[in-house]
């Protein structure tokens, strides 16, 4: 109703400008690469094979992540146990881990010499073979299951207590609950979760190649890498980049017709008391599900700790400087991401626009290599890209985390508008004042969560710095790769553990800060 009556305000104009700017920064580099190409490109048979594999593994990964997340989230929503809060936080860690670190964590558990295979050996069974499509999907589920669980858990806990009590007073059976609570909730949440995970998996590269077991597991991102680095065929790189954007757009349009996920980052600390009336049912199954999920997600992290802890104290000084640089960069990048996401989310909260949603999802799917190279081509004539390496990395990292931040902020802002929007209108609150009094106080938890996620993702991402860096500017992930590239595996493992610890700590500080601010 209010929708109709709102003229375009300054704030909304700002949101539109920011969205247009984001689209420009994401697509401009693609155009720059295409313009620099010397001849028109054609997609080869190998490229089509890469496109097929990319879509196939992304579909499987997204379906499995979403499918497995449902029982895990339900179990977590229904059970109270000591350490639940810690478990929920730890379970979020894989999502913010740098890819290569997570792969080695997984291998320590599921590899030929991994704990799992060693356990099989004890009972006389051969080791498991992780390499192949199933390995790629396993790794993607490891990364993305936590995200999906978090989305669903949120929705479960958002079901009002009164309604659950009403249900128990009406003697609802498990089937009734499924029909009246769970299915509608999943219908609202699952398509969006599926989309986000699908998009993340489409730009996968190292995971797919390492665990895919060979060139059959070639993704579009690897083909882009090859086009840039080995063939120096910018036309083909731009073409493949455009294909990625196309897949993203099609997937997003299909899914957005179904639903938009609800808040990311509300109160997960809330004790699941409202399900107490049904707590007697499925206690054993829930416990087993939680245990399995915890083992799956936490064991690889433990393996990383075990591998890295000895080397951590003896890390070369450059690694510590890089860590400091990464912390500053991650914080700045999160601040920038917030500054971009707030006006965009404020606009999206008031008017539903598919275009905005698309821009919001675009940066997950677009190749960082294309953005980086394009930015390089654009900047090179005007400034020294190397001198700008850190700011550009910060900007690109901010853009990469934008979709998650929007997902976190949008529903919270919608709720704030629903409860306080009319009062703010009546008092003529506009722009900054409206944000300060009507919106911000209501969205601190989501803001903290989003900023934490953004900072942690930026911390762990190798990003475009690899294209521009000089030795004095390395970030922690880059320094870790440099260690790996010089036989210094132990130091690299120490750096990986440092990266894991710092990413988690950053996330925790922002997330916690948002919650404390909200209750202050």
């Amino acid at each position: 109703m209010a929708d109709r009556a709102q003229p375009l305000t300054f704030q909304q104009g700002l949101g539109g400008c920011v969205a247009a700017g984001v689209a420009l920064v994401l697509l401009g580099p693609l155009a720059a690469v295409a313009l620099r190409a010397e001849e028109a490109a054609r997609l080869t048979g190998a490229d089509w094979a890469a496109i097929r594999f990319t879509v196939l593994q992304a579909l499987l990964s997204a379906a499995l992540s979403v499918g497995l997340a449902i029982p895990v989230a339900r179990a977590l929503a229904r059970r109270v146990f000591p350490g639940r809060r810690l478990l929920v936080t730890l379970m979020g860690a894989p999502f913010i881990l740098p890819v290569i670190v997570a792969v080695f964590g997984l291998l320590a558990v599921f590899g030929r010499n991994g704990w799992f295979s060693q356990a099989l050996d004890l009972v006389g069974l051969p080791p498991i073979e992780i390499y192949g499509l199933h390995g790629v999907v396993l790794a993607h589920v490891f990364f993305n299951l936590p995200l999906a669980v978090r989305l669903f858990l949120q929705s479960w806990l958002a079901i009002p207590t009164e309604r659950v009590r009403l249900a128990s007073s009406l003697g609802f059976t498990a089937r009734d609950i499924r029909r009246h609570f769970e299915l509608p909730m999943l219908r609202a949440t699952a398509p969006g979760a599926f989309l986000v995970i699908f998009l993340i998996c489409t730009s996968s590269f190292a995971v797919a190649l390492i665990l895919g077991g060979g060139p059959r597991a070639t993704t579009i991102e690897l083909a882009i890498y090859q086009a840039f680095r080995f063939d120096f065929d910018l036309g083909r790189a731009a073409m493949l980049g455009a294909v990625q954007v196309g897949i993203c757009a099609v997937a997003a349009l299909l899914v957005l017709r179904f639903a938009i996920p609800r808040a990311l980052g509300g109160s997960l600390d809330r004790e699941p008391m409202q399900w107490e009336a049904f707590a007697g049912r499925g206690r054993f199954a829930d416990g087993l599900i939680i245990l399995l999920a915890a083992l799956f997600l936490v064991l690889p992290l433990l393996a990383l700790v075990g591998r890295g802890v000895d080397a951590m104290a003896g890390l070369p000084p450059s690694v510590w400087y890089a860590a400091l640089r990464s912390l500053v960069l991650a914080t700045a990048s999160a601040a920038l991401a917030l500054a971009l996401a707030l006006p965009m989310a404020a606009l999206m909260a008031r008017r539903t626009r598919t275009g905005l949603e698309l821009i919001g999802a675009l940066s997950i799917a677009i190749s960082p290599l294309v953005i980086g190279t394009g930015a390089f081509l654009i900047l090179n004539p005007i400034a020294n890209p190397v001198a700008l390496a850190l700011p550009i990395t910060g900007l690109v990292n901010a853009l990469m985390s934008l979709p998650f931040l929007l997902r976190a902020l949008l529903p919270a802002i919608q709720q704030a508008e629903a409860s306080q929007g009319r009062l703010a209108d009546a008092l003529g609150l506009k722009g900054v004042d409206r944000l300060r009094h009507a919106i911000l106080p209501r969205i601190w938890p989501s803001l903290g969560f989003g900023a934490g996620l953004s900072a942690a993702l930026s911390m762990g991402d190798l990003g475009v710095i690899a294209l521009f860096s000089s030795p004095a500017q390395g970030t922690l992930p880059l320094e870790m790769y440099r260690l790996m590239g010089s036989y210094r595996t132990d130091d690299a493992q120490g750096a990986a553990l440092l990266l894991l610890a710092l990413s988690l700590a950053l996330f925790w500080v922002f997330d916690r800060g948002g919650r404390l601010r909200a209750t202050a």
Partner: protein, 328 residues
């Protein structure tokens, strides 16, 4: 706040002072410029004599390095590019961005003749499969490797220089039989990684029995870690060479300094830094000047190498052969 202003002021003054000293900008790959790589020592050594400021810039690996230089084109700030190899040399020549070195080449310790007038080698090594010394029945040729049960990790030739090197190795040793060799190897290959470091890490983690690396890799473990448990397998068909080269850019604003650096590159001062930082054989240092430990390495009897033009011409077909054999 005041500190920031002061710091900025100081750095401006420092920059102004430094502006009087000419700057020699060198692009190289990441592991070369790293704190523990050869870069810092070489920078210090050259600055002692050149009266200049050496600035290293890292750009991924060799292939990324060339892509970077081609992206920058004639606007490049770089004076010297260090870290290409013979497989990339042809593309580098075709770009027209490099200038002849005009350096009097001293006696080189390469296993082959050096002819390029644009690029100069600074180190080299043989590709080889590295394994643990407790491995049983170490294969002595590609055929034996294909027949064995050994699990190997290799690099993708489309994204990695050693990966492309392996392709050339098979082509040089077996020519028309390359497809058959790859088909035979398919069931030995555990996985293919984007770069050398992931593959080597997988091997160290015990995911594979052998990894494609260099004959010099065991020297790292021996010298830096006092660990003699790694060895390289000698193949009877011979081993493919990787020769790493440097060249100066035609657009350099410091051509004399760049040439002086290429000169310096082949002196003992530079060359003696290479073995224990880059873990390769220096290109102009006698065998007896190598550090202890290098004498334990295998020394292939036959060195295989395509000249740059042949390597470039073969590449696409070789990659397709590889893709076809492994995609089945």
């Amino acid at each position: 706040m005041r500190h920031t202003i002061m710091a900025t002021a100081f750095s401006l003054i420092a920059a102004a002072a430094a502006a009087d000293t000419p700057v020699l900008s060198i692009y190289s790959y990441d592991s070369f410029v790293a704190e523990w790589g050869p870069g810092p020592q070489i920078e210090q050594a050259f600055e002692e004599t050149c009266g200049c400021d050496v600035q290293f810039t890292g750009a991924g690996d060799g292939a990324a390095l060339l892509a970077r230089v081609r992206l920058e084109g004639t606007n490049s700030d770089a004076d010297v590019v260090l870290g290409l190899d013979t497989n990339l040399m042809d593309a580098a020549m075709q770009s027209g961005l490099f200038a002849p070195h005009n350096v009097t080449v001293p006696e080189l310790t390469l296993p082959v003749e050096w002819e390029s007038e644009t690029f100069l080698p600074y180190d080299w090594g043989y590709f080889a499969f590295v394994h643990n010394t407790d491995m049983q029945d170490v294969p002595g040729s590609f055929a034996e490797l294909a027949e064995s049960e050994a699990r190997i990790v290799i690099q993708d030739p489309r994204s990695s220089t050693p990966g492309l090197g392996l392709l050339m190795w098979v082509e040089a040793a077996h020519g028309d039989e390359a497809g058959a060799i790859w088909s035979g190897l398919a069931d030995n290959i555990v996985t293919v990684t984007p770069g050398w470091s992931e593959a080597y890490d997988l091997f160290l983690e015990g995911e594979a029995d052998m990894v494609l690396s260099y004959t010099t890799s065991p020297a790292y473990h021996l010298i830096a870690e006092e660990d003699d448990s790694k060895a390289a397998a000698a193949f009877e068909e011979g081993h493919y060479l990787q020769i790493e080269v440097a060249g100066m850019l035609a657009g350099s604003d410091q051509p004399d300094l760049a040439r002086a650096f290429l000169d310096f590159m082949l002196t003992e001062r530079f060359q003696s830094i290479i073995p224990t930082t880059n873990w390769m054989y220096p290109a102009a240092l006698p065998v007896d000047a190598l550090p202890d430990g290098f004498d334990t390495l295998i020394m292939p009897e036959r060195a295989l190498l395509f000249d740059p033009a042949t390597a470039a011409a073969l590449r696409d077909d070789a990659v397709n052969t590889w893709l076809t054999a492994l995609s089945r």
